[in-house]
């Protein structure tokens, strides 16, 4: 049987591997060939691990033969360049980490490896995960597979593009303010940010530590659930990883939503939302209603304060986290430095790109003496009010359904000169990070120009199962066929 294995979901691949229809080596080779065929145009990968992938695939085949394979054994995975890997370099797509080779693997990487996943390589991102277009990468500009003149979103743009262009089955990204869900929406794939604390961040290069979370991007909801089963759980190496039981998330995929109350926040469907997004998102809610779910109106009155709150807190934390890149122990050290002070200043100033420097300056400003109370402390107080907002909404519903983005994917360069405009477009995704909640982005349609549109389901803390159930039921019954990107010339 000959198939384009590169285009298959993880569960299709896993079934075929176990039935003997294909070997993991053939699947890996199929993906590597696909990367050769399309990545010159998409530019999702910053590093392709050909030999390593085939070695891992052979090991996976041995496990399948031995009958010790799990659902991800032999499944191709790409990794956002923010995850520490002993294989290859770990650069966060920043000049300051050019050539950095991690002496250890991130916990998620180790867990996936133990599950038998086959790593195809590292994928592009906005430098240090700061951005919404992946154009802030110091490496290359990744294109949206649906329209090569548009951005894939960000910061996990390489992850989303590699899944959408069928250059991998699954990708692992990170989400500080929407960096998994927004590119998933722009590229027509499923992206999930688990509850804060669900997934160990050991080996995730930190951007904003009270917000960062690792999660999967995949071709469907089932593959997200399967990946979560592998990557979730307490890790002694990350004291913020929660000691909460991890259920088998695939058991939630029953197709039944008859008992669910889905909340629609009034504030999300105002005139700020383009009609092109509103239509499919409302239609998605109707689909769930048709399957028996109850739609209820809810309020998130503080939604309009989320962007300001988020960009104070995330830049403050970033300015502290990125202080470690001082040219002493690793990373770029400027050769012109004559003394130690020069070494710090020149290495940072020539090593960090413009958006990272902008955020460090902003974060340092809001933490500086005289402004700390007015900005940082104020934002932390509002953060609590925002979290309370979600808690109130969840008193009358089991999941919240809302848009992911105000519009489909931007043209390349469209957002580059207007940082505030770019920040404002994060309005629907960042509240979830501030409140620490799980959320999933699922494709729900296409614009007339053929660009994918996503809808978002937000759950209660540690209740990924409910939003996976709703997302899966939607996927099952919506009858949305996005098709595949044409990837013409």
């Amino acid at each position: 049987m000959s198939r384009d294995w590169f285009g298959c979901t993880a569960h299709e691949i896993s079934d075929a591997l176990r039935s003997g229809a294909v070997t993991a080596r053939e699947v890996a080779q199929s993906c590597l060939d696909r990367i050769d065929a399309v990545d010159g145009r998409v530019q999702a990968y910053v590093e392709v691990w050909r030999d390593e992938a085939l070695r891992q695939a052979d090991a996976a085949d041995a496990r399948i033969q031995a009958g010790t394979a799990g659902p991800l054994t032999g499944v191709p995975v790409s990794l956002k360049d923010v995850l520490c890997t002993q294989t290859g370099a770990t650069t966060c797509c920043s000049r300051i980490l050019e050539g950095y080779r991690s002496p250890f693997d991130a916990t998620v990487v180790r867990r996936l490896q133990e599950a038998g996943a086959v790593f195809l390589g590292k994928v592009n991102m906005d430098e240090f995960a700061m951005g919404s277009t992946t154009e802030n990468s110091a490496r290359q500009v990744t294109r949206n597979p649906w329209d090569l003149e548009r951005v894939p979103g960000g910061s996990s743009g390489g992850s989303a593009a590699s899944v959408a262009a069928d250059e991998t089955a699954i990708s692992i990204g990170s989400d500080t303010g929407g960096s998994i869900r927004q590119p998933a929406a722009f590229c027509g794939c499923v992206g999930m940010k688990p509850t804060y604390g669900r997934v160990s961040r050991y080996g995730l290069v930190a951007f904003a530590s009270s917000l960062d979370q690792i999660g999967p991007l995949a071709k469907d909801v089932r593959d997200c659930a399967t990946t979560l089963n592998v990557i979730c759980g307490r890790d002694p190496h990350d004291s913020t990883s929660a000691d909460v039981p991890v259920p088998d998330f695939t058991e939630a995929l029953t197709g039944d939503v008859g008992d669910l109350r889905i909340g629609l926040p009034r504030e999300c469907f105002t005139e700020d939302l383009s009609d092109v997004v509103r239509g499919p998102v409302i239609q998605a809610a109707r689909t769930l209603e048709d399957r028996g779910a109850t739609l209820v109106d809810v309020d998130l009155p503080l939604l309009r304060y989320a962007v300001a709150t988020y960009y104070i807190i995330c830049t403050a934390e970033a300015s502290a986290n990125l202080a470690r890149f001082d040219g002493v122990r690793y990373g770029y050290r400027d050769p012109d430095a004559k003394n130690v002070q020069d070494m710090y200043v020149l290495s940072k100033s020539r090593g960090f790109g413009p958006e990272v420097q902008r955020r460090i300056v902003l974060g340092t400003y809001v933490l500086s003496s005289g402004y700390y109370d007015a900005y940082y402390l104020k934002a932390q107080r509002v953060r609590r009010l925002i979290r309370d907002d979600y808690a109130r909404a969840f008193a009358s519903c089991d999941a919240i359904l809302m848009p992911v983005t105000p519009s489909p994917a931007y043209r390349l360069g469209e957002m580059l000169d207007d940082p505030l405009q770019m920040y404002l477009a994060d309005i629907y995704t960042i509240g979830v990070n501030l409140a620490g909640l799980p959320a999933i982005s699922v494709p729900c349609g296409k614009s007339s120009a053929g660009l994918p549109i996503g809808m978002q389901l937000v759950g209660k803390a540690f209740d990924e199962a409910t939003i996976l159930r709703a997302a899966h039921a939607y996927e099952l019954h919506a009858g949305i066929a996005l098709g595949r990107p044409a990837l013409a010339g």
């Binding site: 002496p103 913020t240 709150t309 690793y330 770029y332 003394n339 902003l362 500086s368 609590r384 505030l420």
Partner: protein
């Protein structure tokens, strides 16, 4: 638009150990002014008596047993250093010579 002076930007950049070139400093004066003015939106909210939320999980300190365990070997810890003598990280001179 919030009034941010160029000297403010340069002062904060220096705190962050960043040296901005003229064009970057000029651009940041405008951008920071615009962004900070937008953030003043939060002043609409009365947050009197609201406890600041430092973290998404209300966790307290996590302790572990005080036992030694293997840590990163010295060689691995030094492998990415721009300069090392095999035992220490080397940096340029800290104090000026007489």
């Amino acid at each position: 638009m919030k009034e941010i002076a160029r000297s403010d930007v340069e002062y904060v950049a220096a705190l962050a150990q960043l040296k901005l070139d003229d064009a970057a400093a000029d651009r940041l004066v405008g951008e920071l002014g615009e962004i900070l003015a937008y953030m003043d939106l939060l002043n609409e909210l009365d947050t009197e008596g609201v406890e600041p939320m430092m973290h998404a999980l209300e966790v307290t300190n996590v302790y572990r047993d005080d036992v030694t365990a293997p840590s990163l070997p010295r060689e691995a810890a030094l492998q990415n250093a721009p300069r090392t003598d095999g035992a220490y990280f080397l940096v340029p001179r800290i104090l000026d010579q007489e």
